[in-house]
């Protein structure tokens, strides 16, 4: 009887230990789509290649957050390789990023495109980023940027 119980004890705890390892490896925070997973993630370079051949692509792309809206966390810039930045906003204003998320690796789910960023928006973004009036006034031309303007979910690692 003792032997059976000891065997049971070992099996139970080994399985719990194994489970704990898996949990540790998949520990992350999800914003937006609660069912979002890390499956099928592509790199920033792969996204750029995709958008060289098609107008838009539904993706999960990984990169490091370089800047977050300092007021509410309602947009972010993500480095997707080299000097390339992906501009991200969130579906229906339905979720935001932590204000201190810069430097964190993120996976963003949504429709990626190359979009025109208007002067009005760029000025607003510069205001959010706490730029000086001189810098804001110097924005006079729209820019082209990789963007996911309605991300459905974000995983922060």
């Amino acid at each position: 009887m003792k032997k059976i119980l000891l065997t049971l004890f070992c099996i139970t705890n080994l399985s719990l230990f194994a489970q704990e390892e898996i949990n540790t490896k998949t520990n992350y925070t999800i914003y937006g789509n609660p069912k979002m997973t890390t499956e099928g993630v592509i790199s920033g370079e792969e996204l750029i290649e995709l958008l060289n051949t098609q107008d838009s692509a539904m993706v999960k792309v990984e990169g490091v957050i370089s800047e977050v809206c300092s007021k509410k966390g309602c947009w972010m810039d993500v480095n997707i390789g080299g000097e390339n930045t992906l501009f991200v906003r969130f579906m229906d204003y339905g979720f935001f990023m932590p204000l201190d998320a810069a430097g964190t690796t993120a996976i963003i789910e949504g429709m990626a495109k190359i979009e025109v960023q208007t002067v009005r928006w760029l000025k607003h973004k510069a205001e959010d980023a706490g730029e000086t009036q001189e810098v804001i006034d110097a924005i006079i031309k729209p820019t082209i940027a990789y963007s996911i303007s309605e991300a459905t979910g974000v995983i922060l690692k």
């Binding site: 119980l5 704990e20 540790t24 925070t29 937006g32 229906d92 204003y93 979720f95 607003h124």
Partner: protein, 144 residues
């Protein structure tokens, strides 16, 4: 059952429960879609969206419309940017919005048009002051 065996059984149960709790705690990571401290006005705006969604459905279904928002709070709720009201622009847009709500409440005719006018007044304000939610607000319009 002998005493030693009983103690062993109890130890197994206790240890297993402890391990389970530890595993669960590690797996659970706090997540909220709004992780930063929201201003009073930001929370009011979210309530306003919720209320407006209901009003939209009520109009589409031909039902009586119902606003539960205290509109005067738009003038007093603390915004994310403390100097929001300094240049008078926000106050002017707010008054225009409240006027469009009153028009909608008082009409017995084309509610959908007056509702869309009300939504447009939200868009006009946000385009000038806080363009982030403009896409979201556009979705509130009734398609004719």
């Amino acid at each position: 059952m002998r005493l030693g065996l009983k103690i062993l059984v109890l130890c197994i149960i206790a240890y297993s429960l402890f391990s389970y709790q530890r595993t669960t705690a590690q797996n659970k990571k706090e997540s909220t879609n709004y992780p930063n401290k929201d201003s009073e006005l930001a929370i009011l705006m979210r309530d306003l969206v919720e209320n407006t969604e209901k009003v939209k459905k009520q109009i589409i279904n031909g039902e009586e419309i119902e606003f539960f928002i205290e509109f005067k709070k738009l003038h007093t709720a603390v915004p994310t940017e403390v100097n929001l009201r300094d240049d008078g622009l926000y106050t002017a847009f707010t008054e225009s919005y409240i006027y469009s709500v009153k028009e909608l409440i008082n009409t017995k005719n084309d509610k959908a048009t007056l509702y869309n006018n009300m939504i447009q007044s939200c868009i006009n304000c946000h385009q000038q002051i806080c363009p982030g939610p403009v896409k979201r607000i556009r979705k509130l319009k009734i398609k004719k």
